[in-house]
Amino acid sequence: MRFDWSKLGPPSMPEAWDYPTRFDVLVEYDGPQLALVEHSMGRSLALFADFLPDRVRWIFSATSILELEALASGGVAMRGVFSRKDNLRIVDLGARNKPLAVWSVEPGDIPQKILPVRGAPLPAFAREPLLKKLKVRTSFNPAERRIRFAGGPVHEHTIEFAALARLSQWIQNLWTAIGEALGIHEIRERDGMPSTALMAAANGPGSFSIDVRAANEKVFDLVAQRYDTLVGLAFDDLEKLSAELSQHPELAKTFRSYLGVLEELRAEAFVETPGARIYIGCQGVNGAREVLKPSKRASTPRNDNETPETSTDLVIRGYFDVFGVAPPSFKFVDIDTGDLVQGSVAQSLVDRISGRKEQEAAVGRMTRYRITVERGPDDDVLKGFEALGQGNFPFD
């Protein structure tokens, strides 16, 4: 045993874990080191962690096909597959890979020295075998630009319209915000279209894919480069991310919202350009969202046309979570940021809706509202709400 595992608590029962149905070794050196494993709990990339007298200890990271494709094409580093997750599993395998013990852990719980070197890509010799095992058709022309989505709302080669609308809206918002931060958003194409404008050209089977027609390909690549940096920092250097975006509050807000949408939809995105492959999953983004969170006192209204009732009032668009306004508390999902806003309901509002059932006041996830919230240091107070309509923004 090379590492100290004394901090591991008792393992969860491995009964649900059967023998792996596939165990494909991708990198071997003094025994298997990295393997693609299929088992009763799904598909994982497994990293050798330690050797104990009667067992081999592995770190399992649940992965999607898209993430593995990104790994095979350099769109995500090996370490990223393990460190950019909310949780991992430590799995002890005995003779003939029999699961003996399983722990659910956070990436920070495992000895960091076990993880791959920061930024190191999958060895070149393992890439082709991995793609072959995934049975991925690589018909994509590497000179083209493509954005791919997978995860929550993507089913085989379809995607829910609502999710497509939100994902495409937010990646466009982010592209625009990066363009603005780089000072290139004002560049207009001949037809007057912003240079950062993205257009869907076609789709492909597998993970949902949009071939992108960029209004300006050079601008697209420049923005993608910056996007690559932001995604990297979001996982590897939060302090630097915060510092980099402190001069660009609008970009910080938009990037935070984009991460929130990925998280909420449990979606993944893979941006491919001739010069870069950039993968981001829906896990492990909380740290970045936290450092990019605007301070409560510094909050400003989202809608320029709205005048706040006081300097600490916020106007937020979104929907009430599940049960609507249920005094004395409320839960509201900010559709622009993906944040859950919750707190108490102002007495004046309680009095106003007292004759109505809360279900009538604010029902269901399809009705969109604009709410006014007074943000205090300890509590957010709902002061008013106004129904905007049904369905997805933008409709107002």
Binding site: E28, G31, F51, Q112, P116, V117
Partner: protein, 135 residues
């Protein structure tokens, strides 16, 4: 298939099989080890110099393959593999140009670039000096 080194050596008329066995370290399995389809070494081989003890010596596994040491035949492959663990990053990649007298080699495992080398008793004893830092 490449003839086993033992057979190759016999064809040259020296030394006898019984003597050949003594070329190999005492911890090697006595039967069919190194394997018959391993070929004589005539390569530059690269190792992540984490340890010179085989799995067999570490009692992590049994059998002939466990008596071998992993290696790659290209520096870039060894460096790329070394990046698998941060703790390996402090370990040098070492290289030696080996020939028949040092032992035999065979591609092993699912990873096509991965090879196993069975070093002779003498080569294994000299290994830390035989292999030089490659980076």
């Amino acid at each position: 298939m490449v003839a086993s080194p033992a057979v190759s050596q016999q064809k040259q008329g020296e030394p006898a099989p019984a003597q050949l066995e003594s070329r190999w370290p005492g911890h090697f399995p006595k039967v069919a080890c190194p394997p018959a389809d391993a070929r004589a070494l005539s390569d530059s081989v690269y190792r992540i110099a984490d340890t010179w003890e085989s799995f067999l010596e570490q009692e992590r596994a049994k059998g002939c393959r466990a008596a071998s040491l992993s290696c790659y035949l290209a520096l870039e492959d060894a460096l790329a593999a070394r990046a698998l663990h941060d703790y390996w990053n402090d370990v040098p990649v070492v290289c030696a140009t080996l020939s028949t007298e040092h032992g035999v080699i065979k591609q092993t495992g699912q990873s096509p670039k991965h090879h196993s080398v069975w070093l002779t008793r003498a080569a294994l004893a000299e290994a830390p000096a035989l292999f030089k830092a490659a980076t």
